[in-house]
Symmetry: D4
Subunit: 132 residues, 8 copies
Amino acid sequence: MRDTLDAFHLAIPARDLDEAYDFYVKGLGCKLARRYDDRITLDFFGDQVVCHLSDKWEREVEMYPRHFGVTFRHQEDWQRLVKLAKTRELTFFEEPFLRFEGRIEEHESFMLKDPSNNLLEFKYYADPRMMY
Amino acid sequence: MRDTLDAFHLAIPARDLDEAYDFYVKGLGCKLARRYDDRITLDFFGDQVVCHLSDKWEREVEMYPRHFGVTFRHQEDWQRLVKLAKTRELTFFEEPFLRFEGRIEEHESFMLKDPSNNLLEFKYYADPRMMY
Amino acid sequence: MRDTLDAFHLAIPARDLDEAYDFYVKGLGCKLARRYDDRITLDFFGDQVVCHLSDKWEREVEMYPRHFGVTFRHQEDWQRLVKLAKTRELTFFEEPFLRFEGRIEEHESFMLKDPSNNLLEFKYYADPRMMY
Amino acid sequence: MRDTLDAFHLAIPARDLDEAYDFYVKGLGCKLARRYDDRITLDFFGDQVVCHLSDKWEREVEMYPRHFGVTFRHQEDWQRLVKLAKTRELTFFEEPFLRFEGRIEEHESFMLKDPSNNLLEFKYYADPRMMY
Amino acid sequence: MRDTLDAFHLAIPARDLDEAYDFYVKGLGCKLARRYDDRITLDFFGDQVVCHLSDKWEREVEMYPRHFGVTFRHQEDWQRLVKLAKTRELTFFEEPFLRFEGRIEEHESFMLKDPSNNLLEFKYYADPRMMY
Amino acid sequence: MRDTLDAFHLAIPARDLDEAYDFYVKGLGCKLARRYDDRITLDFFGDQVVCHLSDKWEREVEMYPRHFGVTFRHQEDWQRLVKLAKTRELTFFEEPFLRFEGRIEEHESFMLKDPSNNLLEFKYYADPRMMY
Amino acid sequence: MRDTLDAFHLAIPARDLDEAYDFYVKGLGCKLARRYDDRITLDFFGDQVVCHLSDKWEREVEMYPRHFGVTFRHQEDWQRLVKLAKTRELTFFEEPFLRFEGRIEEHESFMLKDPSNNLLEFKYYADPRMMY
Amino acid sequence: MRDTLDAFHLAIPARDLDEAYDFYVKGLGCKLARRYDDRITLDFFGDQVVCHLSDKWEREVEMYPRHFGVTFRHQEDWQRLVKLAKTRELTFFEEPFLRFEGRIEEHESFMLKDPSNNLLEFKYYADPRMMY
């Protein structure tokens, strides 16, 4: 269990800030906290993601080793996000799938790709003790 | 404010898992949740960080656009981590400094570098409404 | 004490949405949740304020009977907001003052005016049982 | 998510305080916190609503741009309030309806009218991330 | 530690409901939840007290065996209530005093008398484990 | 909603402390906090009840105006207590019944009698806003 | 209800620390907090268990008087742990069983044995008031 | 951080139940939950300790490998317990001392001995991340 008051902080590259705004705020439903010339800061599911205007975005995208996202405690939150991503036609890198089936670490997952090729993964574990 | 029950999830590269274990568990005081041949999973300040064994780590390290860490709600938590990092002689990428001085976004920060050149930033804002 | 999960919802007029965005997001530090052609929705200190594009804004502004805002439980949150409003040069309708001095209902307050003449009041009571 | 300890504060006009008391306390089930000659203060679903005795109440009532209410996190709370409003025969401005059907912002809503023509809206979103 | 969601419930006699309302709502700052011909129900520091119109009130009043009140976890809440009682000139049955001095059960206390001779005690223990 | 950290405090008469211990601890499942020659203190559903050895207990017992107990937020907690009282053969003053049927204030209730004729009432309201 | 911030602390013997690590971290899914030459410290379901390298482990193992574990508030958490223990083939000292059947203290339980013959019990009570 | 709703459960030997009751309830201020012929169950700082009547208590007592207790998050809770133990003249096995001085794991500690030679340790860490 984590502290409600602290926030995880992640900085990622964005090749274009309007594009990033469209994906994260209008698409994924994050809130825009601040906008500067070279970055936008987001309330991303209660944590902070900052998109920095940068040319250092990935041209080739692979699942490993870099991606980020949220592990939900409740399955219905994961399912709602699947629905949102499909309804709003966000770009899936991986459609919903099951990983580690039959093991205690079993979890449902799907991955999205933002316009700068950053990968987002959203997970739900049947046994919440495996969230870490 | 974020939900206590969900967890942020971040995957990063590690050139060597023992090295990553030493930095995150023995150094930074994170808890080891699981260890596989190709990754270790960590309870990182209440969120999940996964170190994937990978050759895709940064040879050159810059502050932007990629780094991650925690924004603390209470200044004493930030100060304790400064003390831990100095006592345990972790590698600083940036010594503690003040950013945006005199503005409402003013915050204290410092940055560490893990053995695979991933950058970690830990922040404290005088006005907690600026955490996002 | 109120429920963390529900949200108060307030709809107010805005003569111009960009102006409202500037005041609430860039000025007051609220988060932009959604933007439509005829409204913006805001995470206003954890509750929802919606600015509707409308010609029905007040040309003459008086303290009573309409205004809204936040009553803080902790004095330092109120003080931080005074500082933010002064640093960012928001328009005060009333500078910080003390109301009901010497009575149990005594509280500190100040009022801001948004660009559409909506009044915002932010209060702090010495005895939190008087917040209602 | 909002802070349990702070309270949203809204001041509205009332043409008659006894009438307002009857609607908010005996009707809607709010608690009376304080009564003065020129106002009553209410614990309104955990936030503060103050009814100021005033002649500035709306003679013509429209849905936009001014109304207020609560967005519930749990559907059963919204349903209970529908039942309360019907059982106690409060005045509906809008019977329960669905807005933004088929979109992620889809929500159930109904609107009441208080004796001074203030409009109250109570909502429930299928996806709680759309509450803002 | 008790559950936030349940409420203690206490029914006491009142020889006159207006008198009870004056003492509990206007004096002690409790909130009026409901009023019937034969009773008023109160939000009494987060619990429920019901004053029943009754002739069975105590003509002679003693500290034991019947009284009720609140044991505060934080001393400042106790002190604020002392101030409120003095400022609003409520009737003290016992001025603030120290009981069990020098023992671990040591606590500060004072007692009020409502208009129907019900006794209210408000306490603060230096060691919160002694609150029970 | 009440504060988790404070406790309601109620003092009642007991004609015999062993009898009181048997009823409250062995019967009702409360926890014994402290025992003195003239009183026992109990953790009663998270609040404090003190049984004072006294001859001033009620010889004749009536529902009004004096009784106390708990209003549960969740129906299953109320139902479990009905089961406990029946399984352990506690003395019912009123078997489970429905009060204010068809009204918003509708609630389920039952009343127990302790060995000193103190009445305890345990309630569950369909609409939790009526708990006060 | 216990405090979220404090932790129970239990020290037990381990004849071998790698064996203890395998049982508690890889088997039971606890997190490794720290490792020293003579002990490992664990985040054991939110509390702290320390395995001290020691020759004083029990050669003969009995249910009484020494064992430890967790009493879960929710049955599904207990059931998930049964599943984990069976899937990962941990050593059961007692298969899942019902104790005190038909009494209010009725609870489900099972017991595991760690490699140093320490016994672990995991319980679920139908009536959570019996958890103590 | 641990779950408020679950409880740690520890069973220990007691050579005499009255003696155990005196130490834990009258001395240490724990609450008695239940008493049977062969055991007493305690609410021990929010967790459950059960004293089983048994001849298997330690005749020789050593700090390692077996002891239990509480690690407090707030230093004042630790200090209050030192005061309680001294005021009530409980038997110290170790007077308050500092362990791991100058290291991040530095903590204050003291140990008590119950009448059956079970050792209790109460700790406070300057850096709460070291509590595990």
